[in-house]
């Protein structure tokens, strides 16, 4: 690592303005009170469904469960052909081939977590092998975790280098790249300042997406954290011209929550990000609630869990 690169990286990160915690939380709460009704709500629910990375990351995952999940991602509501499909299926690397096979040419992506998810506690060689494995199995997107220990102890060069190396490991033989999402595990980063720093760090290292959490640590995604990250991607595009996506993950369970996030995206970064290519929800139970709300809007009466799948 050239010392000049390190110095300029540190300079940029140290030059970031601090986050006004009280103002940030008030702003996020304020945006959460917007009332989205009728046709706007219908539109928002369909958009949210199309942004879901339908996720299963359990030790008990089986090929059968992954196939069922992939089928659900393609046709979330089999009784209604107008229901949009989800954006992607998110699984562990060893399940990528099964998910890929089930999704076929549906156009849905397979996202794979990698780099010793969720803790990230392994040597770089193991993390890169994990990543190459997933890419070779056909993953379209790689969700990597940063080394929070290194980040918190100030060793940001190590974090930077790992992201760069993982990005290189995402390369396919034909010259294309699997999309790289970088997970910060914001629940472990302690402060909003750190979230802002980590966002810039990851984007400068080449992340295509920045993602809040693994879903394995509480608190997972929150509105204020996502707001900080949205501001970061907005400012980063203003500065460099490169657009980076945002993915809140974990803890988003209701349509109401999802719509709050969409309102925030629209207010902070605008239309450009209101698209599954640039904003995703990492979720599993959220999709069922979106489907129940969708059924409610279409039929005029409340639906129930008997009318969606058990995952």
């Amino acid at each position: 690592m050239a010392p000049t690169a390190t110095a300029s990286l540190r300079k940029t990160l140290d030059g970031l303005p601090g986050v006004d915690q009280v103002g940030l939380e008030a702003r996020a709460a304020g945006l959460g009170t917007r009332s989205i009704k009728t046709t706007s709500k219908q539109w928002a629910i369909d958009l949210a469904i199309s942004m879901v990375d339908l996720t299963t990351l359990e030790g008990s995952d089986t090929p059968g469960k992954v196939r069922a999940l992939a089928n659900k991602a393609m046709r979330p509501d089999p009784t209604d052909p107008t229901c949009p499909s989800a954006a992607a299926v998110c699984v562990y690397p060893d399940m990528v081939a099964i998910a890929k096979d089930t999704l076929g040419d549906s156009g849905l992506n397979v996202a794979s977590v990698a780099t010793a998810f969720p803790s990230g506690r392994a040597s770089l060689a193991v993390k890169l092998a994990d990543t190459r494995d997933a890419v070779a199995a056909g993953a379209d997107e790689i969700d990597m975790v940063i080394d929070r220990g290194a980040f918190l102890s100030g060793n940001i060069d190590l974090v930077f280098d790992e992201i760069v190396a993982t990005k290189e490991a995402c390369a396919r033989p034909d010259g294309s790249h699997a999309h790289l999402k970088v997970i910060f595990e914001t629940g472990e980063l302690q402060t909003y300042d750190n979230v802002r720093k980590a966002s810039w760090l990851a984007m400068m290292a080449g992340a295509d997406f920045i993602k809040t959490s693994t879903g394995k640590v509480q608190p997972a995604a929150t509105l204020p954290v996502t707001l900080v990250m949205l501001e970061a991607v907005r400012d980063f595009r203003d500065e460099t011209g490169r657009q980076v996506g945002v993915k809140p993950a974990g803890g988003i369970r209701t349509s109401k929550d999802a719509i709050k996030y969409l309102v925030m995206v629209n207010e902070i970064v605008g239309d450009d990000w209101l698209d599954p290519d640039w904003f995703r929800f990492g979720a599993s139970t959220l999709l069922n609630d979106l489907l129940m709300q969708r059924q409610k809007m279409l039929t005029g009466h409340y639906s129930g869990p008997d009318y969606v799948t058990l995952d």
Binding site: G300, H301, Y302, S303, G304, P305, D306, Y307
Partner: protein, 286 residues
């Protein structure tokens, strides 16, 4: 020195907590002379939805408790009611019930809860059966709870209310109750009793407000399994609710025809109303 009244704004009872209506609406409960008693929360369809969610969440735990334990919990309700006897008497008096009928009504209400508490571990023996079949099998029918039951409570201030809630929860159902719009204060006190006795959160949810407004949403809710129309006096509304309930084949208990006599000794009818009979076959061994 005269003391200034503590003016009350009562709230709903959902999932073991006392939230205001999501809609922020309130209405005034008036006494028989038309004077102000208290502000009541006026529940909206979303409060009803939240209540159903809470009731569904509570159903698994409540329905699988032993009948004996459910009986103990319901008996505990009666114990706490007994301690609030004077408060109930004052509230029902303010609602306009003739004074000499008030105390007997409160006593009957408490006794009614004890009565159903006693039945909690006995109704299975009476409603269930060992059926004789033409083969070497035990053939056993047992009643199981229906699920989430919506109840439109009758006008009779406290007695009517406990007479519809107690049997439904005694058999393991969880309930969403719309209290009578005109005399809702005893229902709020009952909610406070539910919160401070051993009834798990979500087993009983009590909404105040307009039944005509909320009941159709409960009747058409796909996650409600039964509806008790005890307090529906308008035949047009009753028909509307039954039609909506047909959508997911809810069990419907119609309002009694003519004025109901809640003081009369109850029968097993209400315990039988919200149970489903399960029949199992088992080979007879040696």
């Amino acid at each position: 020195m005269t003391r200034i009244d503590v003016r009350k704004t009562h709230k709903l009872y959902i999932n073991g907590a006392f939230p205001r209506s999501e809609s922020g609406r309130t209405y005034e409960a008036l006494d028989a002379k038309g004077d102000f008693i208290a502000n009541m929360a006026k529940a909206s369809r979303k409060d009803a939805r939240d209540a159903v969610l809470a009731a569904r969440k509570a159903f698994g735990g409540w329905s699988t408790r032993t009948p004996y334990n459910r009986g103990q919990v319901i008996y505990r309700i009666a114990e706490v009611m007994e301690g609030r006897r004077d408060q109930f008497i004052a509230e029902i008096l303010a609602g306009g019930t003739p004074p000499k009928r008030v105390a007997p009504c409160v006593d009957a209400s408490i006794d009614r809860v004890v009565w159903y508490a006693g039945w909690a571990d006995k109704y299975v023996q009476v409603l269930g059966n060992a059926n004789a079949v033409s083969g070497p099998f035990f053939n056993l029918s047992t009643p199981e709870p229906t699920g989430v039951v919506a109840i439109i409570a009758p006008e009779a201030p406290l007695l009517g209310l406990v007479s519809v809630i107690a049997p439904a929860i005694a058999t393991g159902n969880t309930v969403v109750v719309i209290a009578t719009e005109n005399h809702p204060v005893p229902a709020v006190t009952l909610a406070e009793i539910m919160a401070t006795s051993d009834v798990p959160a979500g087993v009983v949810n009590i909404l105040t407000g307009s039944a005509a407004e909320i009941a159709p949403w409960l009747a058409s809710h796909m996650d409600v399994n039964g509806i008790d129309l005890a307090g529906v006096t308008d035949p047009a509304l009753a028909t509307e609710l039954e039609v909506a309930a047909a959508e997911n084949l809810k069990r419907v208990l119609r309002a009694p025809s003519g004025p109901a006599d809640w003081l009369a000794e109850p029968t097993l009818a209400r315990l039988e109303a919200f149970v489903e009979t399960k029949t199992v076959w088992h080979p007879i061994g040696v």
